[in-house]
């Protein structure tokens, strides 16, 4: 019988630990970290709440993600140029009520005509784009901070949405929307296909725009250093304005999906969604300081928040525990993200 080679075993053990450590470092540095955390969270929760893995629940999560993803992608464009768009909730609200007032069977401007749905859809996009342009123009032409500009437009258009609704109905919202429009946002029956297709198209277009076009490179260059970008010939003003317009368009598309799903144009639509929008992008890894971000990161951030939301809903805990758990999970993700940045900086 020979003596075991203790030093070799120790070397192997050390090698295993090293490999494990390198693996952990690689994972922390990976752009898939948030996705991995989401999967881990899902797996931990599965035995506690088996309903989370039910096909219907998974479909619900995907359906819930759609509008949030679309609006968060718009926000990603603005964050990359070191801006922020706080006006998203008001764009959701004003586009919803104006379009609803056009389409509603209850004395709508285009009620019961073939133009009701196209007119409504057009109004969503035109108003969303126009508010985005207004934000962008104020930021670039007047050199105002995006925070102040979009905070002002948020307040103005949130108030305008309530005023507009009160001027058009005695109720708190505008209903009786055409079935053809409602089908767009529905997640049951075949409607979900339309909503998910729209979200998928926006995601692919957003990804291609940022990763494969000159315009996308301009945005990253502006976010990293606007002065250097300008000296290099990047049309900074135009590009920043377009980033805000894209954000407005995306928010309008999200508003179409939300309004269709709720069958109602509500002046308080999305009133509480701002933190989810910015939170999803930032948790995904998009930098608040500009110059860094990808659509796929935002996708992972939205997935992360959606899975947390769904799991907490399924747990049916009291609001106190919901807030505590959500806060802890987001904090854990933020710590992991900070550690990742520190490691990447060292490397």
């Amino acid at each position: 019988m020979t003596e075991p080679d203790v030093s070799a075993t120790r070397r192997e053990g050390t090698g295993g630990l090293l490999r494990l450590r390198h693996g952990a470092v690689d994972l922390l540095g990976s752009e898939y970290l948030v996705l991995v955390l989401t999967i881990l969270y899902f797996l931990v929760l599965w035995p506690i709440v088996p309903a989370i893995a039910a096909p219907a629940t998974l479909l619900d999560i995907i359906a819930y993600m759609g509008p949030l993803l679309v609006v968060a992608i718009g926000q990603t464009f603005v964050l990359i140029v070191a801006g922020i768009d706080l006006s998203a909730p008001s764009v959701l609200a004003i586009t919803a009520v104006v379009a609803a007032s056009i389409m509603t069977a209850d004395n709508g401007y285009l009620a019961n005509t073939p133009f009701a749905v196209p007119g409504g859809l057009l109004s969503f996009l035109v108003i969303g784009g126009a508010i985005g342009w207004l934000n962008g123009a104020a930021v670039t032409a007047l050199k105002m901070p995006p925070f102040i500009v979009t905070l002002s437009t948020m307040m103005f258009f949130s108030g305008a949405a309530i005023w507009y609704t009160a001027a058009h109905t005695d109720a708190t919202s505008i209903g009786d929307l055409p079935p053809a429009f409602i089908a767009i946002g529905q997640t049951e029956s075949g409607g979900g296909v339309i909503a998910l297709s729209i979200a998928a198209v926006v995601t692919v277009l957003g990804h291609l725009t940022l990763s494969r076009t000159v315009f996308g490179r301009w945005l990253y260059a502006i976010g990293a250093n606007p002065v250097a970008a300008e000296i290099s010939g990047v049309p900074v003003r135009r590009a920043v304005t377009w980033a805000f317009v894209i954000s407005g368009f995306c928010t309008a598309i999200a508003s179409i999906l939300y309004t269709g799903r709720l069958e109602t144009g509500s002046p308080v639509l999305g009133q509480r969604i701002l933190l989810d929008i910015i939170g999803a992008a930032v948790i995904g890894g998009v930098s608040l300081f500009g110059g860094k971000g990808k659509v796929i990161w935002t996708l992972f951030g939205v997935l992360f928040l959606s899975v947390i939301d769904k799991s907490l809903q399924l747990l049916g805990l009291s609001q106190f525990w919901v807030l505590v758990i959500k806060g802890c999970v987001i904090l854990a993700a933020a710590i992991a993200d900070a550690t990742r940045h520190r490691l990447l900086t060292r490397q």
């Binding site: 629940t57 509008p67 005695d170 919202s173 529905q186 709720l262 308080v268 639509l269 805990l317």
Partner: protein, 333 residues
């Protein structure tokens, strides 16, 4: 002892059956209901949730909770989550009466009863049961008490009403109840201020201040909700009009809801009468609606809580039915 594959399979099945039996037995008897609130911003809802929890526990039901933070889209997702959890019933307090309709349809499709608490949904082809206070009747009775008091005291009255959000059917019914009565007594009551508070305490404070400045002789005041009492008290104090019953310059003052502050002001003599939504009865009605729906019955779409008026005359007799008194008693012993 050797165990062959057949014995092992049989034993496993028996063990699984034995372990599963209590779960099955529990699922047969015990019910799980979802309590979906849109916010807990006023004492009415906080007390309502506490009463629901207690009554659900007493009935042997399990309750799951969620709060949508007045986000209709999120509340719809919460409904779907509860349907995934296969709850036996959903009690919902929605923000918007129209935006809740897709949620009712989803519950209908899943065969899960839905009961709306205090806020009925808009008219639709979807079926659900709503429990609501008979706002108009309760307000009529409250204002009638104030008018009788005014007639007893004699003189002419300049009246002011604080109205809620006109998009809220509860607010509209309360406003209508007020005018149903005062319009019959125009000989002594002249309504000089109609304040649309939009259920916003700051707005109520500012607009009531303006109304009192414009009409310093206001001496008859009705609010559509007790949660505005602190603002009313502040304004009346500033105008030197915060006087008790029987004191010179007392403003005849009516409340609505029956909260803790309402009871305290009634006790102190500043409030003449309070229209009370019988929260205990409303929870009982909601739970009874679940029982009926589970038993295959089909209750009416709208069930009304008649409520009652509490004043210094019947306070001792009625206060145990006033939810605000129960909260007050907990705090004050």
């Amino acid at each position: 002892m050797l165990i062959n594959r057949r014995d092992f399979t049989l034993a496993s099945l028996l063990a699984a059956g034995t372990v599963g039996l209590p779960v099955f037995a529990r699922s047969e008897g015990a019910k799980t209901i979802a309590l979906l609130f849109d916010s807990l911003e006023s004492p009415f809802w906080v007390s309502g949730l506490e009463i629901m929890r207690a009554k659900a526990k007493a009935a042997g039901w399990t309750s799951l909770e969620a709060i949508s933070d007045t986000d209709d889209a999120k509340q719809f997702e919460q409904v779907k989550s509860m349907l995934s959890r296969k709850v036996d019933g959903i009690l919902i307090i929605q923000t918007d009466s129209k935006a809740v309709i897709p949620a009712i349809r989803a519950a209908n499709a899943a065969g899960v009863p839905m009961v709306h608490f205090n806020r009925p949904p808009a008219e639709s082809d979807a079926y659900s049961v709503a429990i609501q206070a008979d706002n108009r009747k309760i307000m009529q009775n409250t204002v009638q008490y104030l008018v009788d008091e005014a007639r007893r005291l004699g003189g002419k009255y300049k009246a002011c009403i604080l109205i809620g959000n006109l998009g809220d059917v509860n607010a509209i019914q309360r406003r209508d109840g007020f005018f149903d009565v005062v319009n019959q007594h125009k000989d002594i009551i002249d309504v000089v201020a109609r304040i649309s508070t939009e259920w916003n305490a700051d707005k109520a404070f500012a607009d009531l201040t303006n109304a009192i400045q414009a009409n310093p002789d206001i001496n008859f005041l009705q609010t559509s909700s007790d949660f505005l009492h602190p603002q009313i008290e502040q304004v009346l104090k500033s105008a030197n009009k915060w006087r008790k019953r029987g004191e010179e310059g007392h403003v005849i003052f009516g409340g609505f809801d029956g909260d803790e502050g309402g009871y305290q002001r009634l006790l102190d003599g500043y409030l003449d009468a309070d229209g009370v939504q019988n929260l205990f009865l409303e929870v009982d009605m909601a739970f009874q609606a679940f029982e009926d729906l589970w038993a295959g019955k089909k209750p009416d779409k709208l069930l009304l809580d008649p409520g009652f008026v509490i004043s210094h005359e019947n306070m001792n007799e009625k206060r145990d039915q006033m939810w605000g008194y129960v909260v007050w008693k907990k705090k004050n012993g």
